[in-house]
């Protein structure tokens, strides 16, 4: 027998398996003893929360699919059947429906955390780019999922979004017909959206795996944005971060439960309680809240093709963020100007979101245009220039021996404390 992996586990069964397939060793290495910076704040919970969200979506989705009918004649009724006649069907559906919102808010906070602490910078560029792929896949999945209940907003949302592709010259119209599987959003469209809505979450699992694998190669960033220098800077993942993630998970479930049990339709659109009707267009067609900022960007541009390009561009630009930001300093904590303008960027995104919920008229057009302009200005102009002009504050020597302005070692852990919301 070739040189086998020698397992350290004492349980004979575990040892037997581990010698042949070292999954226990791997789990131990990646989630047990895994050295993790000891100065994480609660923003570092959101990756774990996003993973949990994905699992919840898949589990509830599979149970929904057992009773759902992906057929234009039956889809709306089958969802009502789930809500009324299937045992705890309402609970499963409300968890799935609101789970999409919880997933997005979690991932948005997770992304903002990365932007604030410069987690996208070298050597984590690829890790970040895999994250952007995850965001795109999530958006595609959620968009197609929203079509499935086949309400008015499902139908018209699908019509508007798929129609965007018609903006491309020559290939546009054939692409749209191809997407629809016909000459309008109809039964074939619903069928393929269901098929893809079932598939993409599993593709997501794969990309999430790569995302985490890349993370475990380069290691986590931390609120100081400096590299781990010695074992004193880290703690083993378990029990330190398993317990800290658990705290976040409880709070996450608390918010989730409040949504599901007390305001299950708060984030939904009343029009989706009306069955899809191709002959009657709703007064205003709006996507779910998590897609509103992109929708506002789309509608803020008078030219359709340009609008479509800017909408997709607003996400694609994130792929090159590691190179647009020219500052070598990661954490906003040591970047006096970046630390302020990152909030302006966030405000612009929120304003865009509010604009997306309103008809593009009057003040909403003006605000959406300002928001769009600022969004791109931030990435394309401010970040490249700021990295060159800004004078960063002195960086601490290490995570366990931080140095404040003026030099001199501080009692260890002193700067880690203020961010530590615990």
């Amino acid at each position: 027998m070739a040189e086998a992996h020698k397992s350290e586990f004492s349980n004979p069964l575990v040892n037997w398996i581990d010698t042949r397939l070292p999954i226990f060793t791997m789990m131990q290495k990646e989630y047990g003893t895994f050295p993790t910076p000891k100065n994480f704040n609660y923003f570092w919970n959101f990756g774990a929360l996003a993973t949990v969200s994905l699992v919840i979506m898949i589990v509830t989705g599979i149970f929904l699919a057992m009773n759902y009918q992906p057929n234009a004649q039956l889809a709306f009724d089958s969802v009502q059947h789930i809500m009324r006649d299937v045992n705890y069907g309402w609970l499963i559906r409300y968890i799935h429906q609101n789970g999409a919102s919880m997933f997005f808010i979690t991932v948005y906070i997770h992304i903002f955390r990365g932007m604030y602490y410069g987690s996208y910078k070298s050597p984590r560029e690829l890790l970040w780019m895999l994250g952007v792929v995850i965001l795109l896949l999530m958006m595609a999945t959620a968009f197609m999922g929203y079509v499935l209940p086949w309400g008015q907003m499902s139908y018209w949302g699908a019509t508007v979004i798929t129609n965007l592709f018609s903006a491309f010259p020559i290939v546009g119209k054939p692409i749209v017909t191809f997407l629809w599987g016909g000459y309008s959003v109809s039964n074939p469209t619903l069928n393929r959206f269901f098929s893809l809505h079932y598939l993409l979450p599993f593709v997501l699992v794969g990309v999430v795996f790569l995302h985490v694998a890349a993370l475990h190669v380069v290691g986590s960033n931390n609120p100081l944005g400096i590299d781990v220098k010695s074992p004193q800077d880290t703690v083993p993942f378990h029990p330190y971060y398993t317990v800290k993630d658990s705290v976040g998970l409880c709070v996450f479930f608390l918010v989730y439960a409040i949504l599901v049990f007390f305001a299950p339709n708060f984030l939904g659109d009343v029009n989706n309680f009306i069955p899809a009707n191709p002959l009657q267009t709703p007064a205003d067609i709006v996507p779910e809240w998590y897609l509103l900022p992109y929708y506002a960007i789309l509608r803020s541009v008078p030219n359709k093709l340009l609008g479509v390009c800017m909408m997709f561009g607003s996400i694609l630009i994130l792929f090159v963020l590691p190179w647009l930001d020219t500052s070598k300093v990661r954490s906003a904590r040591f970047r006096p100007i970046y630390r302020q303008i990152i909030w302006v960027w966030l405000a612009a995104v929120i304003v865009l979101g509010v604009c997306g919920a309103h008809k593009p008229e009057g003040i909403w057009v003006v605000l959406a245009r300002i928001g769009t302009l600022y969004y791109f200005l931030h990435f394309l102009v401010i970040l490249p220039i700021l990295g060159k002009l800004e004078r960063p504050l002195p960086l601490p020597e290490s995570i366990s021996r931080p140095v404040i302005v003026g030099g001199g070692p501080m009692p260890s852990g002193a700067t880690a404390k203020p961010m530590e919301k615990a």
Binding site: Q73, V247, C250, F261, F262, F273, Q280, L346, L367, A422
Partner: protein, 265 residues
């Protein structure tokens, strides 16, 4: 900090601009008090039962409740025997008899609520339902919508439906009302094809409650809110248990976390 303040101002501005847009539509329906409101809200069963009576005697002539079965009426506190009797009083199609002719008979609790006109399926584009034509003709081209989900399908649903039911009035002199349409203060555009459905003392309540238009509207909306969300009472009860559970768990895990982290500097 200055920059942060200016971004907050931007958000505030956005929020301020919101009411300006809402004005062109019908006035906001006044808020009523509803038994099912809020996290502690439950269902006023007596009111829901009276509302069922109003639906059966008045609205059911024109409006369906597609997604309800007679058995579901347990949710408004009716007994199995009451439900059997209610179902039996309704005649529904029951397939074909031995000669191949359509057969009718009393409904059972397992049956769906009887539909006044077989409803056209909006998905069958191009297939004009014979009944849809008759139906539209009878109502000035407007179809009475199914009411099962109506409370969820309108913004501010319960108050809105109540406002429409009680919002009939004489059209102002300047208002051009189309032939056969009715003026309503709260219906968007103020012209509604539905004639005023409720009038004082239109039904006789067994419990002696006076059947004013307001009372009947309130009752029928309570019934329709139940029809739209039959799981509501159970959902909120369950919700409290889970919320308390996660609160306690959050506290416990936080305490453990403090302990685990106590030695890290």
């Amino acid at each position: 900090m200055g920059i942060m303040r200016s971004s907050l101002v931007a958000i505030a501005l956005t929020a301020l601009a919101a009411p300006a847009l809402a004005q062109e539509e019908a006035p906001t329906p006044p808020s009523q008090h509803w038994s099912f409101q809020g996290p502690f809200g439950s269902l006023d069963l007596a009111s829901a039962q009276r509302g069922f009576q109003v639906y059966s005697e008045v609205c059911s002539v024109c409006h369906s409740l597609e997604y309800l079965h007679y058995r579901d009426l347990r949710g408004i506190g009716l007994s199995a025997d009451q439900i059997k009797a209610i179902a039996a009083s309704v005649t529904v199609p029951q397939g074909l008899d031995d000669n191949g002719d359509p057969k009718e008979g009393p409904a059972t609790p397992a049956d769906q609520f009887k539909v006044p006109y077989p409803l056209p399926n909006p998905l069958q584009i191009g297939v004009t339902h014979t009944n849809e034509k008759a139906d539209r003709a009878a109502h000035n081209g407007a179809l009475p919508p199914d009411l099962t989900l109506i409370v969820n399908a309108r913004e501010n649903g319960p108050n809105y439906v109540y406002a429409v039911l009680t919002g009939y009035a004489d059209a102002p002199a300047s208002f051009k009302l189309m032939e056969g349409m009715n003026y309503n203060k709260f219906f968007p555009g103020h012209q509604i094809a539905m004639p005023q459905p409720l009038h004082d003392d239109q039904v006789t309540y067994a419990d002696g409650t006076k059947a004013t238009v307001e009372q009947m509207s309130h009752d029928v909306v309570t019934f329709l809110a139940w029809a739209a969300n039959p799981e509501m009472v159970q959902r909120k009860q369950m919700g409290w248990r889970w919320v308390l559970f996660f609160l306690v768990m959050a506290g416990l895990t936080y305490a453990v976390k403090r302990k685990v982290w106590a030695d890290v500097h």
